[in-house]
Amino acid sequence: MTEQFTRREFLQSACITMGALMVGTGGLEKAYAASSTTTSDTKMPSCDVLIIGSGGAGLRAAVNAMKKNPKLSVVVVSKTMPSRSATTMAEGGINGVVDFSKGDSYELHAYDTVKGGDFLVDQDSSIKFCKAAGEAINELDYLGMPFSRTKEGKVKARPFGGASKVRCNFSADKTGHIVAHTCLNDAISSGVKFLMDHELLDIGVDNGRCEGAVLRNIRTGDIAPVRAKSVIIATGGYTRIFWNRTSTPYISTGDGVAAALRAGVAFKDPEMVQFHPTGVVHGGTLITEAARGEGGYLLNNQGERFMKKYAPSKMELGPRDIVARAIETEIREGRAFGQGLEAYVLLDVRHLGKEKIIKDLPQIRHVGKLFENIDLVDQPMIIRPTAHYSMGGIDVAKFDDMSTPIPGLFSAGEASCVSIHGANRLGGNSLSDAVVTGKIAGEGAAAYASKADFSAGKRLHDLAFQWNSRFKEVTSNSGDAKAMYAIREELGAQNWDNMGIFRTQAKLTSLSSGLEELQARYKTLRIPNPNPVYNTAFTEYVELGNLLLLSQAACLAASERKESRGAHTREDFLKRDDANFLKHSMVTMNESGKLQIGWRDVEITQFKVEERKY
Amino acid sequence: MQKEFAFFPGCVLTQAAIEAKMSIEAIAPILGITLKEINGWSCCGASQAQDVDPLATLVANARNLALAEKMNLPVLTTCSTCLLMLRRAKAQLDNGQKERINTFLAKGNMNYQGTSEVTSLLWLLAQNVEEIKAKVKKPLSNLKVAVFYGCHSVRPEKDLGFESSVNPTSFETVVKALGAQVVPFEKRLDCCGFHAVYPAEKSVMKMTSGIVNSAAKSEAHCVVTPCPLCQMQLDIYQADAQDTTKSKARVPILHLSQLVGLALGIPAKKLGLDYNVIDTSKLG
């Protein structure tokens, strides 16, 4: 029963469903009890392929699902308007080998990726990924992405951190924005349907199969189950667990990862979060690597270029993780400025001269003025590392179709974890990941949906009921919104202080109890806004719940991974320990809601595990 | 203050808005301004010709500017669209197009150098408020005025650049210097619709009517505008526009130069006030 899906029909059917549910509180329960006796609710809105998230991955998934089987109804759900995604914020470029003339190859790209990921990368998948990334560059070109060009009119690439060859293809200094809009244009022209202003609350899994998702129409407040033959989670990363110490957008709250975890899928490598060395002190926005690339100095409170102690030959141009650790060390050892979360070191570009700053670093100068009232021409910028990318994510069982272990549930982009990035992502691989895994997931989900039937949707029904009750319970005319924001701020600070760049058992143990205390406070939160119409406070409440859950998962894995690898630095276990931890951490939730950890071996094929040296 | 200008009347002053020409010619000598009309000036393209041929439009304006340069004088115009078109052409020429366009101007033995600035009557007056105040003979103290800037006297700011485009003050300053009261006027920065009156007539009539009604609501005795195109739109089409929205209000629409003329004590007839379509007799 393929049901052709239109937005109007969805809204209509959603209204009908909601109408049936919302007959006053007493009536609501009766209505629910009555309808729950039937195994199949034909009134439930549905579509064949439901994609959650409208960044690069979600949009590529949608177009390719439609291409794979034009008969399918494909819908992209987004809590904002598409194009407000983290994809737009990437600046540097998109990796992919298109020029083989100087000895580059997919294998070499894969090797760099594996090594960059400190060998926590699944090697076979990484080769497939790099081949697809190379092909994706030409495909994006064909779809209309304006790339900067070589003399021969080919796509232009620039050198990038951790890459042994030049393969970071780019479009000026806003490659991510250009990729996002190329994907959006393609989706629009291809007739992809959007459900904007809808947020994912939960994924329904029953009898070991994905049934669909519970969505909240933020505009109306309606919470409704939507059945789908296959669901793709492409909701992006979860770096907002560090709240104001991340470069990612407000919406990167890991909603899809949290929903998948609750639905029984493992959260793989949750402790693996990349830190970028240069973020704005107030708010964490990125200062791009160009500042150092062009010759900027990093200075401590002695006026000293401290990188000489940490990377004497490369100085400020050392790899991201080394520079980030160096800055945090200076802060910790009292050679920085400011206190607590507002501690910082200086990034000085004044010696480059006014003219060069204005010409070559306009964006960075703009960010300095915008967030810190600092003109880089006259003053050094104040900076601190910032959480930048989630290597961990929803466990993907099979790279070939980006399926999770649960039939009908797929994932793509930063929300997913194959793992391609292992313990540390290579610069330029995030955009490739979005478009490559998005496409594969779209095709995989379409292939699955072409053969599958809709499931009964019983679990979905239950979940929708629970969320409706929860909205009623949590929102009212009384309550204290400040308590919610306080939890969010404390969550960010605790995660940063204890699970940031330097981790120890003591810190993580203290974080674990801290998170429990925050969870307890969260459970008693009441939001003083009962209005269902565009209740952004409730959205923030839902997001905060997800961030707390994901923080607990990351904390558990960080405690258990008693080694240092890639972005995960344990000061009490400074060495990488391949004998015990050449494994993915797999955090799952049991039926009573408790998080548990398991491990899965890394897929090692052609590349020998060796020490990561540059 | 700069006293002598290469005057660019613009097409509308030679035809549909002769009262604008009469009034500026009447006020100039009193204010001590000498306007020397540029011999052989051509249409600026009126923000329309570029839809057909942007290159020809640029060439024509390069020629206009080169003609003024020959006179060794800065350019003054009253029409905001001419102001925008000339300033925009100048910006294009000064930012890389000069050499190329000069090869075309050479066909008529002309050359653009970039020596003449382009200004408007409004800006000139705003820069010399004290002098104007001193010359006011009949302060317009009983007159409530709604000032209507017109798009191309403020937007785009990067081409015009005289003042903030969202919070301009030059016009209010000038009108106050004439002794008149400036009333709060919601639509002072709106568009009259003139440039699309043919293709988008229905919308334009609505826009025109909205402006007239907004002025009437603020109890203005008249709307004053520095731009003869806005004046033409709001004056000539006012009756039609008000009919389409079934509005009764009628508000006289004056050129800036006419208002200045009244304050300088120049007789209404010399300012061409009887050429205005909506009756202005109560103002003179």
């Binding site: 244009n185 904007m196 | 937007r155």
Partner: protein
Amino acid sequence: MKFIIERFDGKKSYEQTYTVEKKDIEALTLLSVLLLIKQTQDVTLNFTASCRCAICGACGVRVNGHAYIACDSKMTELFEEYKDTDTFRIAPLANFKVISDLVVDWEPAMENLRKIKPALVAKSEFSVKEGCRQNQEEFDRIIKQWDCILCGVCASECNKLSADNSDYMEPFVFTHAWRAANDSRSKDPMIHVKPSVTNGLWNCVHCQECANRCPKHISSADDIASLRALAMRKGLNSGVGPAHAKSFYTDLVEDSGRLNEIRLALRTEGVSTALRAGTAITLMGAGKMNPLEIFGGHTIEGHKDLVKMIEAAHAANKE
């Protein structure tokens, strides 16, 4: 300092005033002020924001009637712009349907984007496998328009949309059409130009608001003009709009060198069309126009030279 915010709760519209200390907000952006108000004074206040660094386009709002992206607007700059004010009026973007407070509905705009088919349709010599070829100059030509972040600021300011949105589209939609049509890799610009023409290309009122307010300094007004020129070059020149534009050009190049209002009316709408010809007659009646001008008027001095210059430009452009 007072912030008067226009609110809408789904049923009723009202204004709400929030008071903040100037010293607390001086160093902030407008978005940070909105967040401060939401987090410390009124959690029911709704607005959207995502990237906070002017690349995602989520936080467009109006300040004192003019559109800004909140995250890219420093309060110090707003103080400078609106001198001596101790009150700011914050409103949702105009020309969008308001869903709640400062949140607007993007769906109709997305439907308009669909109309102009924003994606490139590549020339047949290119392929998915091999990609395309484009030189740096061709890239430079279109890249400015690719800065568009779909923030809606241009649409909010558009005088034509305010008057009537039924026969027009958001200015950024035309910019999207422009960049697809002017891409050297495009198979056929008309894929994007035709729907632009049928959806209001000629209805732009030239108010320059879009060009003036765009936070990325894109001029949709220029893109609209350029699309019009392209449409006419490709033979889409019937209708009032093209005739109107052409008559200016004809006056400039082929006739006197100056514009003639009567000829303009006649050329645009034809002799029999009453209203505008009637207007010209009103003008003559008021003594403003010389009816003899219809037969030519005075040709400007040096007109032959002007024509030569334009011909030279055309010849050079063809090379």
